[in-house]
Symmetry: C2
Subunit: 223 residues, 2 copies
């Protein structure tokens, strides 16, 4: 069996084990058994439990980023993709659509890979260097959301100054909200929302608000 | 010097030390020196570094919850406080105003006690049992936000079914967004937003959206 197939099986088993039992309690014996290999082989390939956990985080991080970037079309786009003017036959600017598709991809991915998401979401509770990996993931996603929110605001006719001033905070708010919602959606046992429903909840909650802000409307305690 | 004063000094010094250096790197010698007491006295009062860190988390958790609940008036209210009908001279229902004041209190508290917030926000990266304390804090705040969002939705004439179905997800989104924004606001070195500005960012972003949702408006990818 080729090394990469074997490694993938080990990582699959490790993600499942870490998601189920947590980093500390997961057993290398169980992971090896689940992967159908001997424990020495796991150590030969992945060196230590710490290295194995790091490899799991890195794989799940890369898969999540790829899913979200794929959803937004950010890889294709990169300046040339669908932008102002919007996607034919759909409402909103290109960036707004990209954000919507990115959110759908995010919630679809976290719903389809609950164990991977659980490992990512709980990895920071295991201290450094795992927390640093996850902080890097959050920074990467926040940068993408900042870019899309900024473009969407400018596409919607918002002045550059607003985009400069407000967009960074809004992007942090949106990423925190999305993370929290993905945990909530995966924890539900009845009336489990579909990924699109969860994405729509966030768009309803936030985007409509952003749309109003761009138009100059502001929430006020005295209105 | 009375015991509680001494303990408070130790906790002040410990929060500062843990915020500056992290749990692992913070030194008990430095904490004792900063508190102006001997290291044996710290161990006598707080038993171990783990117990000292736990005491810091619990104190900061209680202070944050008290600030937020105080802001919302939840302690006074408890069924009898300002509710439907709203605060005289201000817009929105009582619950909407409570949420606004709660957010202002949250961002004012995290801005005024950046070291306490840093300890709370980073405590989960130190593993159990610290992560459990912080999860308890998040659950407590989410419960309060769920209650206020639900009341606000009903006050705004929204049917109970909407409140049941949507409010839990929205509350999780809002808490995640607030947490993320507080970290962002405290990390800024220039153009630092005031607590009210940060709270308004979140209300603008989310509340306006919620207001539209209650009226039946939905974001749609095809509009």
């Amino acid at each position: 069996m080729p090394r990469e197939v074997r490694e993938r099986q080990m990582l699959d088993a490790a993600v499942a084990g870490f998601a189920r039992h947590g980093y500390q309690a997961a057993s290398m014996d169980d992971i090896a058994e689940e992967a159908g290999v001997s424990k020495p082989l796991v150590y030969l390939y992945l060196k230590s439990k710490e290295d194995l956990f790091t490899a799991c985080i890195r794989r799940e991080r890369a898969a999540l980023v790829e899913a979200v970037r794929g959803g937004t079309g950010a890889d294709r786009a990169d300046g040339d993709g669908p932008r102002a003017g919007g996607v034919p036959g759909s409402g909103g600017s290109g960036a707004e659509q990209q954000l919507w598709r990115g959110l759908c991809a995010f919630f679809a991915h976290t719903a389809a890979r609950p164990e991977g998401w659980s490992v990512l979401h709980r990895a920071h509770t295991q201290g450094e260097p795992f927390a640093r990996e996850v902080a890097g993931l959050r920074a990467e996603i926040t940068e993408l959301v900042t870019l899309l929110l900024g473009r969407a605001a400018v596409d919607a006719g918002c002045d550059e100054e607003f985009a400069e001033r407000e967009v960074s905070g809004l992007a942090h708010a949106m990423v925190g909200a999305a993370e929290s919602l993905a945990v909530w959606a995966n924890s539900r046992t009845d009336a489990v929302p579909s990924p699109k429903e969860t994405a729509a909840t966030l768009m309803n909650f936030c985007w409509t608000g952003l749309g109003q802000m761009i138009k100059g409307a502001r929430w006020s305690p005295h209105r």
